[in-house]
């Protein structure tokens, strides 16, 4: 009997439609208007790489130990250095990071003993050229230029 009533009144379908309708409230909208409102990314987000410098002297923190290059599964980091005859330490000369091959696994960040290499919260990495994806030391230290969208 209940089944018959159900067949004629389509209660199951109405129940589903009511569930759909309940979620139509404007206060329940979850869509993010992306370029207008930037979603906050998590603190540990692994995005664009950055080579940190000392906040006061603006000298690089990198000690050219090459551990990040060894840790990288894609071998996309190339570190070159030259020995400083006065301090007997290695001085960083170039640091190349191929973002186009990076899968943001964070192994380089974990390997860095001095917290010089860091994956930041910046995630807008699109460029018009492939060459633009290969970041040199200057780009890694200063970060990519902020993009502004107009429409």
């Amino acid at each position: 009997m209940a089944n018959l009533i159900n067949t004629f009144l389509l209660t199951d379908l109405l129940k589903g439609l009511w569930t759909t309708f309940k979620n139509q409230k404007p206060s329940k909208v979850v869509t993010e208007q992306y370029p207008l409102n930037r979603p906050p990314v998590a603190e540990r987000y692994r995005g664009a790489p950055r080579l940190n410098t000392h906040p006061e002297t603006s000298e690089t923190l990198c000690i050219s130990c090459n551990l990040c290059a060894l840790a990288c599964p894609e071998q996309l980091i190339v570190v070159t250095s030259e020995r400083n005859p006065e301090t007997k330490r290695k001085d960083l000369t170039t640091f190349t990071y191929d973002v186009s091959r990076c899968m943001f696994c964070g192994l380089c960040e974990d390997a860095c003993p001095v917290d010089a290499l860091e994956l930041t919260q910046d995630f807008e990495l699109a460029t018009y050229t492939r060459e633009g994806q290969i970041w040199d030391r200057q780009m890694l230290e200063e970060g990519p230029l902020p993009v502004r969208y107009t429409h």
Partner: protein, 380 residues
């Protein structure tokens, strides 16, 4: 399986003209083959006489890549096999290497691993539910499921910085300590899920269209499940209580109280109900694990350079899709000598032909959906 293999078109042309049989390609670019699966259907009118799967469109040679990477370096690649359940893949791989190393994982790390893999199970099942319903023609569930899945992904993002290819676990334990609101967010998610699962049941379970499209479709009984090596929700829907979390507990699953949901007939509707119930059980496990989260270190005594002794190890875990196994051979060097993955979706896909025979073309879509395949894992 020889009888299902279809002869090339030129051989079949003559016989096809005489009969009413039709060979139809479904995929690889078909919205409901969940990626790049190509199914060659042999049809008689609307009835399916046989199917033949063509896979390999997403083959990346992951197992070969492993041989050229160190043990740590390969860990991010396993996330890219079953990208819907990346955390489970990471767990299986890390556990296999830990078995090779004979390394202990601290209890806190194990509890966090359990929480994250169960969260991943919920995320994977939610994605399955949304896309499966979308295949069958219900448009609403996919939006609701993705909304709730977003909450799970937020926990992943807060915990390890990535949403999909998480790389959450490291060999020997964890890399990241939990964040401040981790426990609260997990418990909130459990509350949310229990409330939202009711909505899904309202939308689908009683719905006559859903029931007519799923009940009695793609039946795979218990004996066939065993013959084909099918695992996961498929075998549980056929009535066999087989869950590796109970059968051979790992990662401290023996300490948690949960049930294995089963059903009887093993059709598409039963698999739907089993997966819905699994989400409830996952919430139960998460609650227990969060309540009893022990303090202590998160990484065991594993050196910076991982060099396991020569030997081999096989570890299998209960991934959202079934038994996920990692077989690793080490020759004592920095790189694995061989890595072989036993992907659950690949093995489960083998039963597609058995389930499809005699059903209608429209049901093939439902059956592919109900197997819950991820082509990244099938092709590797």
């Amino acid at each position: 399986m020889a009888e299902t293999t279809l002869a090339p078109p030129e051989v079949q042309a003559e016989t096809l003209l005489d009969s009413n049989e039709l060979v139809l390609n479904m995929g690889p670019q078909h919205p409901s083959t969940h990626g790049v699966l190509r199914v060659i259907l042999k049809l008689d009118g609307e009835t399916v006489l046989g199917t033949d799967c063509v896979i390999g469109y997403l083959h990346r040679g992951v197992e070969k890549i492993a041989e050229n990477r160190t043990f740590q370096q390969f860990a991010p690649y396993v996330d890219r096999m079953d990208y819907v359940a990346a955390v489970s893949n990471g767990l299986g791989y890390c556990m296999a290497v830990e078995k090779l190393l004979d390394a202990e994982v601290p209890p806190r790390a194990q509890a966090v691993r359990v929480i994250l893999t169960e969260l991943n199970r919920i995320a994977s099942h939610l994605l399955w539910l949304g896309t499966h319903a979308l295949d069958i023609g219900a448009i609403t569930p996919v939006f609701l499921c993705f909304r709730e899945r977003e909450e799970v992904l937020k926990i992943f993002e807060n915990y390890c910085g990535a949403r999909l290819t998480t790389h959450a676990f490291r060999i020997g334990g964890l890399q990241y300590e939990t964040y401040d609101t981790f426990e609260k967010q997990c418990l909130d998610l459990c509350d949310l899920m229990e409330q939202k699962l009711k909505e899904y049941h309202d939308l689908l379970t009683g719905n006559r269209i859903w029931v007519r499209r799923t009940k009695g479709v793609g039946i795979l009984n218990a004996a066939d499940c065993k013959d084909y090596g099918v695992t996961g929700p498929l075998i549980r829907a056929a009535g066999i209580e087989w869950d590796l979390r109970k059968a051979q507990p790992y990662c401290g699953y023996e300490n948690y109280d949960f049930d294995i949901p089963t059903a009887e007939t093993g059709d598409t509707f039963d698999r739907y109900m089993v997966r819905m119930e699994e989400m409830v059980q996952s919430c139960r496990i998460i609650r227990q694990a969060v309540d009893a989260l022990p303090e202590g270190p998160i990484k065991g005594k594993v050196g910076k350079v991982i060099k396991p002794p020569p030997g081999e190890a096989y570890v299998s875990i209960e991934a959202p899709k079934g038994e996920l196994g990692y077989y690793i051979v080490s020759d004592g060097s920095l790189n694995p000598y061989r890595v072989r993955v036993r992907p659950p979706s690949f093995v489960n896909l083998g039963a597609l032909d058995k389930m499809c025979r005699g059903s209608l073309v429209a049901d093939v879509v439902a059956i592919i959906g109900t197997i819950d395949i991820v082509l990244g894992e099938v092709d590797r």
